[in-house]
Symmetry: C2
Subunit: 314 residues, 2 copies
Amino acid sequence: MSKEIVLAADLGGTNLRMAAVSRAGEILFRNGCETPRTGSPHAIVDAIVQSAKECKDSCSDHEIRVLAVSVPGTVKNGSVVTTPNLPMLDGFAFAAEIEKSFGIETVLENDANAAAVGENWLGAAKDFGNSVCLTLGTGIGGGVVLGGTILRGTNGAAGELGHVCVEANGAQCGCGSRGCIEQYASASAIVRMANELKEKFPDSVLHSNATAAEVFSAAKCGDALAGEVFREMGTYLGIAITDLINIFDPEAIVICGGASEGWELFAPHMHATIKQRAFGGAERPPIMRGTLGDNAGILGTARVAFDRLDSLSR
Amino acid sequence: MSKEIVLAADLGGTNLRMAAVSRAGEILFRNGCETPRTGSPHAIVDAIVQSAKECKDSCSDHEIRVLAVSVPGTVKNGSVVTTPNLPMLDGFAFAAEIEKSFGIETVLENDANAAAVGENWLGAAKDFGNSVCLTLGTGIGGGVVLGGTILRGTNGAAGELGHVCVEANGAQCGCGSRGCIEQYASASAIVRMANELKEKFPDSVLHSNATAAEVFSAAKCGDALAGEVFREMGTYLGIAITDLINIFDPEAIVICGGASEGWELFAPHMHATIKQRAFGGAERPPIMRGTLGDNAGILGTARVAFDRLDSLSR
């Protein structure tokens, strides 16, 4: 039992990362490659199997019985439902195809769900059975852990927390709606908001099309435009998190992902908004930065694999 | 086992209703009285015990082992956390006090959770394990059933769906926040919106301070102001329900409560908004009117009692 490990793959639009992970959450080996973009789902299966074989060879003194793969999209029963950044996988029986080539039980998970599970297992929310996690990246992903189990919903589409509406007639979102929190608190939102505020702040050091990192640096140096971007980000994040508190009454809320780097700039506005808005009856949960960084997803994916392994053993 | 029944009490700010309910959901006997407003929680305990004794005497050929009470507030571990309309109960060990007087196991539930359980057990959502219920009354209550179990949260405060924000800088809400759906789709919201729109619609038949029922009648007769109220109600309800679809990916959404009487007037706008806004990846769940009417709460409360009875038997 102690020598049993799992393989966890984090399949992104750009890169495929894989790791061999122990039951204690140690990463024993890791590798990676670019995500094949030939348009064929089989090229992606081949890349995963290739990486998995490398991991297996490097950990030949361990037993590997489950491989879990997280994908940037919705998954259900081992198939991909939709992946906007890897459309060749839509409707593809991904887990079954990997299993056929690699010969090992394979499960799928949504990437933001995996990050939520990772932070709940070994990260910021590790002492809590109920936690809600927001991943602020290019877009915003979400994951809800209830009693230690991820909330998946009827079609594997629960936890799309990036599309909680915070401004009824707000910015157009890629999902077809308007005013989603993804349009106010993601890396791409930071870029958009900085661009839109340029006219109001002629003295800003920011040029057109500044990156999120440049807006962050400018805000740290006291640039008023950049400061306003993080004020808006924090305020809207506070509105969305208030919704999540009123809906889930969770034990903890975790914020991770690249755009959470701006924490010190947006968090004061976020906390002030939640204090003003959250429903009186409930105690407010702690709102914390994730502690696992880039590893949240791969560790959460490993945990999903261990959960499957344990269900196989029962 | 077949002669085992439960008692279910629905304690409101104005009335206390009670029923003896069979395992099949039949109401075998019911009674009620005004809610004592002496300021003492013990007067309410006495009224419940009095009603319960009447029910018990009228069903003397059945065995009664559990009494459940739904209250308009948050409850946790048999105590009331907060009840804005019955503040004398705040922090009161309500279940234990009833048990002491009546000698029967007593459990508490939030009233909107009870309605959600009722509609999930015997009403509109009875074929679904996962459903979300909104009760449109004077305010808006919510309940979320996941895998047949109500979502209660850390402090008993989950499912406060009336306080999902639909307009960041919208109408002030009693909860301290702004723009909650309760301010756009409850009976009191109908009254407020009609008042606010009067200047824009000088030809409206509606006088100042029209009741929700009068706004409803006027809309059915083609009054433009009243029609606009239900258009806004439907649109905002669509925004809130889109959030709930994106968050829970439920099998069904149920709308009940007195203000759902305006269904034919607001539902077309609600459906159109959801169609525009809900996340592409997910199938959209059916959105249905509750079918149990005023009995949703009391039947749901009875189901909570049966669940407790079953857990005692295990």
